[in-house]
């Protein structure tokens, strides 16, 4: 079975100006939205209100969660607390309710159950689950990741490849984050994890294509860089599509069957996989061409020369 014709000869590089233009436009939109609109951070990041209720009898948690959702408290966390009639609810207060007690009262009103009266035992604000240090550490981590990529790819390939790969990867991460800013969808820790995994996916995909570029530069002596890049992308096209399809299959299953808890994470990954795949072809390779990569850059190193010299 074949999903894709093997002898494809698309002229991807001809589209380089268009594709890089689109990439830059998307980046501008993403960064613009991130600076102007920002992200709609979830309870994990912002903190909110914690409300404790004591019911007379046991309560059904799922039922209670439904009631709160109906009252406009989206993504409220409802948990039993020691006993099955003690309930703790964590939520972001409704707009305009700065006072924790006020939120407590409206939660109590929303959680009314016929024949099972409840008492409000506590209403307090709660701080974020993750400290400010997470943001700092996140930035440091991303810098180190980029540095590690730069070093490794420079050693195994060449610095132009390293820069192109990092730019393509950052492009994917920024656009993915920008998507959450533009759509105003809730950004929680799971989405953050999803976006970080996009980084791994994207660099992986780019390296596979670059690997073939390197092989072809060394093997196909007479060809221009333009033609080498086109050929490499075409040769790896069926693999790129199958791998992305399989990864997408996984994430789509999480999106459609995973329930609300996994939807945000799955969404970030769907975007990430699509963008990550496209950027390897339409961003990373055109960048290589633009940087003026030639066969000379990838000539076997001194070590190989020595090996050659030793041969009879």
């Amino acid at each position: 079975m074949n999903l894709f014709p093997y002898d494809s000869k698309f002229d991807f590089m001809r589209l380089r100006k268009v594709s890089l233009g689109i990439a830059i436009a998307l980046l501008v939109i993403a960064i613009g939205s991130l600076t102007v609109r920002g992200l709609k951070f979830a309870l994990d990041f912002t903190g909110g209100t914690v409300v404790e209720l004591k019911f007379e009898k046991e309560v059904d948690i799922g039922d209670l969660r439904g009631k709160l959702e109906a009252a406009g408290f989206e993504s409220a966390q409802v948990q039993t607390f020691g006993a099955s009639n003690d309930i703790v609810v964590r939520l972001q207060p409704l707009a305009g309710q700065v006072n924790a007690e006020k939120t407590g009262d409206s939660v109590l009103a929303a959680a009314r159950i016929e024949g099972n009266p409840a008492k409000l035992t506590r209403a307090d604000f709660v701080g974020p689950q993750v400290g400010k240090e997470l943001a700092e550490q996140g930035v440091i981590a991303v810098i180190f990741v980029a540095f590690g990529f730069l070093l490794y790819i420079s050693i195994r390939f060449e610095w132009k490849f390293a820069i192109a790969a990092i730019l393509a990867t950052m492009h994917d991460v920024i656009i993915c984050t920008g998507y959450f800013s533009v759509t105003g969808k809730e950004f929680d820790l799971n989405v953050l994890a999803g976006i970080l995994s996009v980084m791994g996916y994207s660099i992986n995909d780019t390296i596979v294509v670059f690997d073939r570029v390197r092989e072809n530069f060394r093997g196909l002596h007479r060809l221009e860089a333009y033609e080498v890049l086109n050929r490499s992308v075409n040769q790896t096209l069926s693999r790129t599509i199958i791998t992305s399809f399989v990864a997408l299959l996984t994430v789509l299953a999480l999106y459609f069957f995973g329930g609300s808890a996994l939807r945000g994470m799955a969404e970030s990954q769907i975007i990430g996989i699509v963008i990550g795949t496209l950027s390897s072809i339409f961003v990373a390779c055109p960048l290589l061409l633009w940087f003026g990569t030639t066969r000379i850059d990838l000539l076997p190193r001194a070590k190989d020369d020595a090996d050659l010299a030793r041969r009879p």
């Binding site: 994890a193 992986n204 609300s260």
Partner: protein, 621 residues
């Protein structure tokens, strides 16, 4: 090129398979929700109690699996979480105050597996819930501490500027008494420089006493409290991190409280000890000028100004300067070692820059004078007064070491005088940062899962479907090689679960999804191999050679692609915290195991299928 797969590699595959099976096995044993009963105040824990518990449960129509009596505890294994809560409430009432009834999750893993070090993964707060502590910062002690510091700072400033006067703690601030109106003016401007947020007012004076009242406004108190809570939050994070408890939730709640939730820890007593521990160190100069008045101070209680009375571990009284040279929050790193000179346990300390400068300055000026190390521990006590629990705390301050300064030192030095266990614990606490104000646990409960049962079910189903889809696709697309790929993928899954269990990782729902995704992506290696084999076949290479060349050529690509992704994972693991770390761990483990299964194991399986067949006309790929 041939397809040969050496026997030793085959042996490794079987060893790896056995390892995977053995160490992922404990995850199949579901923990039983249980109620743990232990006796307190000398009450008996015997067959009679066991019979009583059994009778009570039967009367209340609460179904249970088993009741196990051991030396220290009685364990009632129950059917589900709801009956667990009902049973614990019922038993708490029926057994009375002489028994502690606590919720527990009892392992059902057979003991031979536990002896091999095989443990199940802990389920995260979202899937299973955990222990919830509410800790309260002692507001009074924060204020006292801040005011004492202010008094010390004012005294030092007055002395440095040659202003004669005294300073003492007063209601909501400090009362400074000076000798002249002129001094008072100078003092007021110095204090305003020292602490810009305070409100300074002249008090009603007499001929030779000119008081100055220094009041700390409420906003400054709130700001100070916020700072204390922020520091305590990060200290608690560090401590929990140092203990290797993954995926906790630590957040501020209300004005003076911190809520801590830990997954999977059911021994609340142990967790409490670590969280609330306040052991720290203070470095003070010995007050040798007044040494002769030590006994007098002990007997009469008249302690010379500028000194405080302490006792050493063997009960000797000693007067130390009021001024603290360095203390716990200035310590950057601390490690437990053995002092090479004396061979006794020691804590090797490194101060931050400010602390190091102060220490160097003081030791330079005081060579030959004794320096004392004070070990401070806060011991919380709960007493029952009129049937109600009353919490209080006793502060134990001991001089663990007093020795002459032989030569000036700055940032790095060693402190002796502790027992080995104390040195270890102190080093951990100092490393994680000391609490900038003591906190008491005011509430502890078992908290249920933060995700609903339906959400958990949906998530687990989704992960299952994602595997099913991927494997079905491979069989359809690559036929025989699809089966080879699927076998490698299954072994990869087994290995990821085994390694994560061995590391004691905590499994959350997004973590589970992360594992699914890691594996979904790791099949890339197999796609690369299979596509290369097809490419070789199209180029006219013979089937067996195609397999060999396909594996050979794809290996380099797979290595480059995975090493870069692995680099990313390692960086996230080293610099990330909490959920990011857990995620990075599953990413790294997934990449490493998939490199082995995709390249080596799948090749082994392929050679099993094909190597015996000399004349292979076509491949099923």
């Amino acid at each position: 090129m041939t397809l040969e797969y050496p026997n030793w590699k085959k042996a490794i595959i079987f060893l790896v398979l056995a390892f995977g099976l053995l160490y992922s096995l404990p995850n199949l044993y579901r923990q039983d929700p249980a109620v743990q009963i232990s006796a307190s105040r000398g009450a008996a824990l015997d067959e009679t109690i066991k019979d009583k518990v059994q009778g009570d449960l039967e009367r209340a129509k609460i179904g249970f699996k088993a009741i196990e009596l051991s030396e220290k505890r009685l364990l009632v294994r129950l059917l589900d979480g709801d009956t667990q809560l009902r049973a614990s409430e019922m038993l708490r009432g029926s057994l009375g105050e002489n028994y502690t009834v606590a919720l527990n999750l009892a392992s059902t893993v057979p003991s031979w597996l536990t002896r091999l070090g095989a443990h199940p993964m802990t389920l995260g707060l979202d899937l299973q819930g955990g222990v919830h502590f509410l800790m309260e910062v002692d507001r009074k002690s924060v204020i006292e501490h801040a005011d004492e510091r202010l008094v010390d700072d004012i005294k030092t400033t007055l002395r440095d500027r040659n202003i004669r006067g005294t300073a003492a703690r007063a209601d909501n601030g400090v009362l400074v008494t000076l000798r002249s109106d002129d001094d008072r003016k100078r003092a007021a401007s110095e204090i305003a420089n020292l602490a810009p947020s305070v409100v300074i007012e002249d008090g009603a004076g007499s001929l030779d006493s000119f008081p100055l009242s220094v009041k700390v406004p409420d906003e400054a108190r709130i700001a100070a409290m916020d700072q204390v809570i922020d520091q305590n939050l990060s200290t608690l994070r560090n401590r929990i991190n140092a203990l290797g408890i993954a995926e906790p939730v630590i957040q501020r709640q209300g004005a003076a409280r911190i809520a801590v939730q830990l997954p999977g820890i059911q021994d609340t007593a142990a967790a409490k000890k670590i969280l609330g521990a306040t052991a720290t160190l203070e470095y003070r100069l010995s007050d040798i000028e007044n040494a002769s008045r030590t006994m007098d101070a002990v007997q009469s209680g008249r302690i010379p100004a500028g000194s405080r009375l302490y006792y050493t571990r063997d009960g000797q009284p000693v007067l130390l300067s009021r001024r603290v040279i360095a203390q716990g929050d200035e310590i950057v790193t601390a490690t437990s070692t053995i002092d090479p000179d004396s061979g006794t346990p020691a804590v090797s300390i490194r101060l931050n820059d400010a602390g190091g400068r102060k220490m160097l300055q003081v030791t330079e000026e005081n060579v030959g004078r004794p320096l004392a190390v004070v070990f401070i521990e806060r011991i919380p006590e709960t007493r029952i007064v009129d049937g109600k629990e009353v919490r209080s705390a006793r502060i134990k301050e001991e001089v663990i070491n007093i020795a002459n300064i032989r030569e000036p030192f700055g940032k790095s030095f060693q402190t002796t005088g502790l027992q080995k266990a104390e040195a270890d614990e102190l080093a951990l606490l100092l490393r994680a940062g000391s609490l900038s104000a003591p906190i008491d646990i005011v509430e502890e409960r078992i908290i249920g899962p933060s995700l609903g049962a339906d959400n958990i079910r949906a998530g687990v189903n989704a992960v299952f479907y994602s595997f099913l889809f991927v494997m079905a696709f491979f069989v359809v697309y690559y036929k025989m090689f699809g089966i080879v790929t699927n076998l490698a993928v299954l072994l990869n899954l087994l290995l990821v679960v085994a390694v994560m269990s061995l590391f004691g990782a905590t499994l959350t729902l997004p973590g589970l999804a992360g594992i699914a995704l890691t594996i979904g992506m790791s099949v890339d290696a197999n796609v690369l191999i299979n596509e290369r084999i097809r490419e070789e076949l199209r180029a006219g290479t013979s089937p067996l050679a195609s397999i060999a060349v396909g594996y050979e050529k794809a290996s380099g690509t797979i290595l480059d692609a995975n090493v870069t992704a692995l680099l990313g994972g390692i960086a996230l693991f080293s610099f990330g915290s909490g959920p990011i770390r857990g995620f990075a761990l599953s990413l790294c483990v997934g990449i490493l195991t998939s490199m082995y299964t995709a390249v080596s194991v799948s090749r082994g399986i392929a050679s099993l299928f094909y190597s015996g067949r000399k004349k292979l006309a076509r491949l099923s790929i």
